[in-house]
Symmetry: C2
Subunit: 272 residues, 2 copies
Amino acid sequence: MKYPVFFISDSTAITTETVGLSLLAQFPSLEFNKYTLPFIDTPLKAQQAYELINKKSEQYGQNALVFSSMVQPELCHIIQQANALVLDLFEHYLTELEQFFHKTSKHAIGLAHKPEAEESYKQRIAAVDFSMLSDDGTNLKHYEKAEVILVGVSRSGKTPTCLYLALQYGIRAANYPLVAEDFLDTSLPKALKDHQDKLIGLTIEPNRLHAIRKERRSTRAYADPGLCRQEIRYANQLFQRYNIPSLDTTHRSIEELSARIIALKGFKQNSD
Amino acid sequence: MKYPVFFISDSTAITTETVGLSLLAQFPSLEFNKYTLPFIDTPLKAQQAYELINKKSEQYGQNALVFSSMVQPELCHIIQQANALVLDLFEHYLTELEQFFHKTSKHAIGLAHKPEAEESYKQRIAAVDFSMLSDDGTNLKHYEKAEVILVGVSRSGKTPTCLYLALQYGIRAANYPLVAEDFLDTSLPKALKDHQDKLIGLTIEPNRLHAIRKERRSTRAYADPGLCRQEIRYANQLFQRYNIPSLDTTHRSIEELSARIIALKGFKQNSD
């Protein structure tokens, strides 16, 4: 038996879905069919969503579960009439916040995203530009401007992590790919010598690296288990020798890696 | 007067902060000092967070506001003793979900991120690879494999939107930069002819384009207001002539653009 689950929002529904999915992850034995409905921002659209919920509840013979975030009470109200358990992220908390601040809230759509007004948004876009230009060590001069440099062998997770750091946090993240010639001697690659305080090593279990490389490329040598083991061993030795803090990417998502990198580097996340 | 606001999580705190900030955006007249505390996953760390909250509440002469998401009730409980309004994203909803499913939840950390097990995670990483390889029209053969191709003038928002589509949704998004030679005649650029069903146009107000270009590059010609107006006019005419659906990026974040692109293209977000 699968449960029908809706994620409904007057905006992108990205946050609504993320929250909903992390709550549902606490029920790993259950299965869900997901329906994401973004931009439900008029009574008509809310009415259509209401009808779809009821249709699914009937089809499944089971009340649907609805995660919603609607800042306008009248739209929220329409959804709440459906044959479903409706958990609205805004309704519950806005009431508590209004009491806390002794202030009514705006209940207005679109207050959360104002790209042109926000310094932090500009910073994110600038960091994305930076990551694109400096990807995979092709522009070593960028290391000067980088806030962090991820060091690791091919397919250890450097590029997507750099991009996530840029997109989510506005951090200028460069990367340095460790290749065969870096392992010819035991010293730190020349390009990194002046930037030791910016380095974070990425490591990974050899079996997982082998699996990833095998999926990606056709040449057998590249994914060879022995080569994977050797490269990782060299990389880990380098991290140890130069006291480079490192993270194992085997079981970590780019979200977690990014948050841990920020914690490791002590990037300012707090107001003081 | 500023309010101290905490975002506390046993995981990355990314979702907690996003939810908290979108709620606070409903109180635009208030100001906040933000403290983000990720990976609070032991009683000791929870105790330290508790003490920091109390310290700030005292410093500000004002109870702090705490958004938390802690799946373990004992950690949640420690935070809730602080001199603060604590709004926990899990506590409230897990209880409701347990009743709905007639099932107890796991209350276990780390269930939400299992990168190696999830097909959708692999798809996101593969889509990031794709976006990097196909960025800015340098690899036209990638258009075959693209699910969507964003078309627009330089600095209209193509690259960060492609990356967000890849990172968040696992969508293979390529882009085509419209340049001077594309405007020499009125026909669709040759590279796009076989892919008309994949195209989405990005447009932007000329003043905003001018401001963005001025900030980014030093050459005056590139940011010239007249050139910006002309390029945008040509681009919009192209979109109209070939019935290319288009989005104005002037006041839209990459999150919103991505969600709207998915809605426009009808990418499968629902289970049926």
